[in-house]
Amino acid sequence: MTTAILELRGVTKVYGSGATEVHALTDVDLSVRAGEMVAVMGPSGSGKSTLLTIAGSLEQPTSGEVLVEGTSFAGMSAGDRARMRRRHVGYVFQDYNLLPGLTAVENIALPLELDGTRAGKASAAARRVLADLDLADEAARFPDELSGGQRQRVAIARALVGDRRLLLADEPSGALDTQTGEVVMRLLRRACKAGVAAVLATHDAQLAAWADRVVFVRDGVTMDQTGPAAGPESLLTADTPR
């Protein structure tokens, strides 16, 4: 039985009004199951980043509804939304956003501590997620002692700490070279295999190709998506696309 971890129903986002009105998103439906990785692909200004911030309730839709693990954000107070976000939603950004004065393990424990978890318990949870992601050696290092790829992996660990099951990533390997980006994507795949639902916003087809499904966004509309995944064996008979 597959559960929808994230569900967007008829989400529309309009900025401004009257003559200056901009439709950032129009009637977007999207459902992401546990263990599934979905890439939202589109050029700059297509609405993919807005989709991500609305999915994580950093912004509210003009109309439509967002549900995370079956609970709707609609009608929640700002405080409840923030609590829901801290407990259920992890973010990964292109520029990592790690706090420079804290070690990797402290950075990862921080969201739990902010949510009221005792320091010792939060630190243990942070170490556990670092170990799960093969990053135990990085625990005591400060961000400026880590490479770009290591920083991004620590940022992913922070997004997943506390058993959060929805991971939203905006161009997560955007600043990395191809090989390092691949390491980051393998890590995200591993997280999905363990039951996390991930949504990546990207303009990069190589990155999107790691997803189970690619949804194409253009002018705020989800215009198309890739078909059901074909196995690699189909490559042996597939005609080369030109």
Binding site: V28, D29, L30, S31, M41, P43, E182, R186, R189, H203, A205, Q206, A208, A209, W210, A211, V214, V215, F216, R218, D219, V221, T222, M223, D224, Q225, T226, G227, A229, A230, G231, P232, S234, L235, L236, A238, P241, R242
Partner: protein, 226 residues
């Protein structure tokens, strides 16, 4: 020709049987480029005729016949490895031709045609990425071949993205006669297939200056993202 030189490379490691050549070729290219056994034997027979490969006896080509590389074969291989492939003169890309044709075809939904190709390319990239994901870390041949295919396909996606943006900002010079849009989509595909070769030069020369329309909506009929 790459099969020819790949076989020379395999033989440069030591004498090998025909069947062995085929198995090793496939293994080292990650089994992404399957090779039929006839191809191996005809290629190796030509190499022998050209003095680049020698065999021990006069048997018919077959799985049990052993081949070894000659000094001339070694020289040929060394030269080939350093010779750049002819990348400067690209073949007429069918995808490029299709978009050029679509851009000037009255009533064709260029945005949707571009998207159909983009989706197909990304789906193929996903299959190669899955292949990479499932590959053993030491399967160098497969990883290199999959990377190469992913980069090649990505180049087309990036070109489509840039074509999409260019067409969006392009101001039409003249309004063409209206054609029902469903028929136009079929026509675009047919025109691209049938008339590609003849239309290509003409289209290439004039598409930029006379593309009939830039945007015709983002396709409400597309598959919903659910």
């Amino acid at each position: 020709m790459s099969v020819r030189h790949a076989l020379l490379a395999l033989l440069s490691e030591g004498p090998k049987y025909g069947l062995q050549l085929r198995q090793e070729f496939e293994a080292r290219t990650g089994e992404v480029w399957p090779l039929n056994v006839g191809q191996v034997y005809t290629t190796v027979a030509r190499l022998e005729r050209d003095g680049l490969v020698a065999s021990d006896d006069g048997d018919e080509p077959g799985p049990q016949k052993a081949y070894r590389i000659t000094p001339a074969g070694g020289d040929e291989l060394a030269t080939w490895l350093r010779t750049p492939p002819a990348a400067e003169a690209p073949p007429r890309e069918e995808l490029v031709i299709k978009i050029l044709v679509a851009a000037r075809l009255p009533g064709a939904d260029v945005v949707q045609i571009i998207q159909a190709h983009r989706r197909h390319l990304v789906e193929t990239m996903s299959r190669f990425t899955r292949l990479k994901q499932d590959a053993a870390e030491d399967d160098l041949g497969l990883l290199l071949v999959a990377d190469a295919e992913i980069f090649r396909l990505e180049a087309f996606v990036r070109w489509l993205d840039s074509a999409d943006a260019r067409l969006r900002h392009h101001t039409p010079a003249a309004v063409p006669p209206a054609v029902p849009s469903t028929a136009a989509n079929d026509a675009a595909a047919t025109a691209a297939n049938d008339a590609a070769a003849t239309a290509a030069n003409d289209a290439a020369a004039t598409a930029a200056s006379s593309a009939p329309t830039t945007r015709r909506g983002t396709g409400t009929g597309a598959r919903a993202a659910r």
